[in-house]
Amino acid sequence: MPRIITCYKWVKDEADIKVDTSSRQLTLDRVGYKISDYDRNAIEEAVRMQEQHGGSVIAVTVGPPSAKQSLKDALSRGPEEAYFINDPSFAELEPAQTAAILAAVIKGRLEYDLIICGEGSSDLYAQQVGPRLAELLGIPCATYVNKLALEGTRINVERKLDDGIEKISLPLPALVTVLPDINTPRLPGLKQVLAAGKKPVHNIGLKDLGLTCEVTLNTTGILAATMERRRLRFGAGNEDIRKVVDALLKEGVIA
């Protein structure tokens, strides 16, 4: 019966980001937060596997104390407990630091057979934390997985690569990163949300880790990716469609 850990990140919702076009500054103070999109697939896959084979599912997240809001959402999706590793300095971690923190927590405290991460986080989309974590734990990993099956003490997975599909087999314990098409995450109902409030959460602080997270990748700037567009609006009437076609002809983009 597999003991599964699933790692998720609480991220700014990029759809709420406003941009000042002239200065290219981002306005981030009024954005909402969400569980990183593909981490919902990671949680779902862990819960499905548990439904099929028994075992346990633990959700783990690293973030600033404000990421506490995420716990109920994450737990309502099925995991039975959560590890919340938080410190005010964990707001803007780079992938190497996140992986080091996760490794430190998992090594000392958790027994596991399988770790499931998302393909990449919605904000950084570095696609690094999963494979880095596997290396730090010294376990095999499979990235870009869209099918996952438990076969005794191994897992067989399908990886979707740019030149085709690769089916591979890994001994447990192992780590996988999953693609969004591996499943459709369930929408938690009221009952699940209420139950989530009662599930255990283990708070772990920086001091408990005995770890200094050195910076290896320094962010020297973040600027909006702007685009000059005309933003002309038309309706669906014949007249309007004709105007659009005329404009496209004038632009010389159709012939």
């Binding site: 700014k12 990029e14 980001i17 941009v19 992938p95 919605s122 904000d123 950084l124 989309y125 570095a126 696609q127 690094q128 999963g130 494979p131 880095r132 290396e135 730090l136 499979a142 990235t143 979707k160 690569l161 740019d162 030149d163 599909i165 690769e166 089916k167 591979i168 087999s169 890994l170 001994p171 693609l179 969004p180 098409d181 910076v215 290896t216 320094n218 962010t219 020297t220 700037g221 973040i222 600027l223 909006a224 990716a225 685009m227 567009r229 005309r230 933003r231 002309l232 609006r233 038309f234 669906a236 014949n238 469609i241 076609v245 005329d246 404009a247 496209l248 002809l249 983009v253 159709i254």
Partner: protein, 318 residues
Amino acid sequence: MSGVWVLGERREQTLELLNAGLGLARELGTTVTAFAIQDQGLAKTYIECGADTVYLLGSLAPEQPLEDYVPVIVDVARQKNPDIFLISATPRGKEMAARIAARLGVGLGSECTRLRLDENKSLVMERLMFGGAAVQTVVCLTRPQMATIPPRTFEPAVPLANREGEIIELPAPPAGKVRVLERKPRVQESVDITEARVVVAIGRGVEKQEDIELIQELANVAGGELGCTRPIAEELHWLPENRYLGISGQKIKPDLYIGVGVSGQIQHISGIRDAKVICAINKDENAPIFEAADYGIVGDLYAVVPQLTRELQRVLKK
């Protein structure tokens, strides 16, 4: 110090990285080293195209994944201390780069689209974040400075006259824990969406797979190819995966992009940012695609697309 290193999964990607690496090496006054996977002929090509040294990676057993090279590569990197290490951002390349960086305990810039050296000769890398809403500039504080680079970011290096270089064979890696059971190559698509002058992209606003016919007619009249959003390719499988546009898909630079039933989430827009003209059809006047469009048509695609097709037919006399 041993200069700039490049590792590509395939020939084309290695040549692109070589080109980028040669530029950096010239500025740094150092050498370029490439990895060749199992193929002596490739090793020679890389030298002709500018590499000073090529590490020839030994053959893998059929059930060994490419990622088994990680420990071998880490060993030489530890011995030689490269300044810069560029790896192609194919799925396998991204995994290998992250694992190499973890073993070396160094930083890694993912999917960097621009590279330059600053006044201290540090590598400055630009990459997208927040789904493509922002450009993040990063600098590695550790050595080697590592970056993955998406395929086709740079032009491939070309053969130069009178090139000489050294080929060093590396041992074949021992089997790791992962076993390949089967490889199913992707059926090669004849169409390269990145070459199309006109791309008509379908999104989830298209209700049924049969309805693609309607959009295909529009594409035909406009002289274009069909593209799509990620869910159309990856969840619904209505179009091949190399047709979806965006931060994790294809980046295109056509003259004209027409989005049909595409909401215009930033991850999709990132792939069409360089289109000359963006046109969008969406029934929701608040859809984000209208913010990114030159010509936005607010309306039901099932009414608008046939009209647009007819009108184009009329004016183009097709």
